[in-house]
Symmetry: C2
Subunit: 392 residues, 2 copies
Amino acid sequence: MTSYRYARRLGAVPPSFLGRLFAVSTDPSVISFAGGLPSPAVLDVDGIARAAADVFAESGAAALQYATTDGHRPLREFIADRYRRRVGLDVTADQVQIVNGSQQCLDLVAKCLVDPGDTVVVESPGYLGAIEAFSLYEPRLVSVPIDERGPDLGSLGRIVSGDRPKFFYAIPNSQNPSGLTYPDEARRAVADLLDGSDTLLFEDDAFGELFFDGRPREPLMRRLPGQSVLSGSFSKVLAPGMRCGWLVAPEPVLAGFNVAKQAADLHSNHLSQLVLMRWLETNDLDAQCRRVARFYEQNCRALIDALDDRCPGLDHTNPEGGMFLLARLPGGVSSLALFEEGLRHGVAVMPGRPFYLEGGDDVIRLNFSCVDPGAIDEGIARLAGALRLLGH
Amino acid sequence: MTSYRYARRLGAVPPSFLGRLFAVSTDPSVISFAGGLPSPAVLDVDGIARAAADVFAESGAAALQYATTDGHRPLREFIADRYRRRVGLDVTADQVQIVNGSQQCLDLVAKCLVDPGDTVVVESPGYLGAIEAFSLYEPRLVSVPIDERGPDLGSLGRIVSGDRPKFFYAIPNSQNPSGLTYPDEARRAVADLLDGSDTLLFEDDAFGELFFDGRPREPLMRRLPGQSVLSGSFSKVLAPGMRCGWLVAPEPVLAGFNVAKQAADLHSNHLSQLVLMRWLETNDLDAQCRRVARFYEQNCRALIDALDDRCPGLDHTNPEGGMFLLARLPGGVSSLALFEEGLRHGVAVMPGRPFYLEGGDDVIRLNFSCVDPGAIDEGIARLAGALRLLGH
């Protein structure tokens, strides 16, 4: 046997940039704005360790045993209750499915909804992990530009009425990669536009707990309760390595999702669910989120100050929260060229290309969550040096 | 919006029996042979708890952080090294991908290999979780009967040469549901039959550490190194709830698998990988496997003694290891009827239907890993009562 017969869908995945990025991230001489990790400084290791010890002492073998596909019931109740209290979303634990980080929602929602050739709408720029996950189900991917005012409604409206997309995937809060947040008017307008169509909204809220002002933004799901699914995660505020996220969905949609989840891996890590639940019972999640958001806010301000000071030719977004901003390169500079030149100067940035269905080489993504605060200014000084060498 | 437009593949999944089973498993008055859990008595809770405490103390925030898609390198090296030492399989860590329990291999292997309509061969009876997982990729599923001599080679040969299946999925060691183990001759014959065809062997070895005689059986992969993938798991010997399994594959196949894994959930639970690795460094896995196997062997003997004594009309397999046996019902008795009548007598068995692409109502699966040893004889006495009421 000389060759392997892969499924056609494997050929639909765009080439990944992550291997190259990972090689960069392990070089201590490089100041990296290219990654996407939470800061290790804000992870509550002692708190999680205590919670784990409690779980072993109290639950014993049950913590290590197989469990139900939908997830640990008290954790699902905590999540539903928090949505009710925090943003007035009327959901119950029966509408919550636990998954391995919200990335798994991207895979399973597409698996449940997308036949080859179906139209799926993503934001432009959009989350590259979503583009990869969706691509494996061979959709016809189309994108809608977003900016400070939200998504381009004319473009979205034409696609929804003309192409009947299966869903519109959006990150309305501090989007990865742009750092953009939909204003309240845009939330209303998108909900009005989709309402009554047969296009679902897939609302990814990975960053909604990380607004610098601490004010929760209203999920679009509140206006489209029967017509949207909403994913969330503990990865950005507690422990990404424990891979614990969730999907909130109308019960009929969740039933299909549960079938796909069971086929995918039976259930999510049960021990981790118990440990996180114990942490949530014995700690203050709001205080933890404020702590993380304050840390990222300071980093974001330092990054923007350094950019405005040292790279005045770079237009950039002004995030209200999250972990990323997007900068537009001065005319003619390629983000891939800047990536390579930056490495020679000891600084890493994320080229824009993977965030776009086409184009995108004129922007870079800068992460401010996982860079040493004391190294931000020096990193941007190096970036300015690289830009000068490229003619700016 | 009144209805949801699901992907066609959701309609391909056979109806699940698990909800009904789960309801049964929570009733303490029912003696259940229907489940598939490891015994809580053999889970090393204290050892895992110590390993977790060590990991938090030594690794700190790194244990909670995002990690690489392929998995924790020392764990991959441990797995490869164990295959080399234990069964002479010449593999390296580069050929090992960590997943969320070996169930995830079923999903991701099918995702990488199966286009709708492709032929996939399963055993008859076969593992129902595999039938479910594969079905979502809309293959043409065909089955090959297995018995004490292994798979029906004539049938397998005709399918391989006639239909060019993408892969043959087999559990050669103490199969779920039958408890059957391929004899050595069958291993050679299946490898010879597939060798040089373009059909991959997908060898699922969930139970190979649980042979009662402690003798490792040779993986078929040893004879088909470039033409097979092999899945394994810590779920049956250490901690199912931690969802840690792996796939061993030729590097080109693993590259595609890695893309699918990253799209599915970025990586498996990092904390759990570190905790398991720590346990493996500080404990004796061989001793743990012997302990589990001895416990299951005693249960299996008690179950067979009770069956032969109280239900002489039931033909059954004689497992060399694992957690299950299969019993053939006397003429005319339906396994679904026996399931319902059994419940009225306070005993639960697993009907055979879900393990077959068609038929199968004339067999039941009996689990002997997760039943109280002292309750086995009483459980089978109740089953005999139910059989009598059904005319036997």
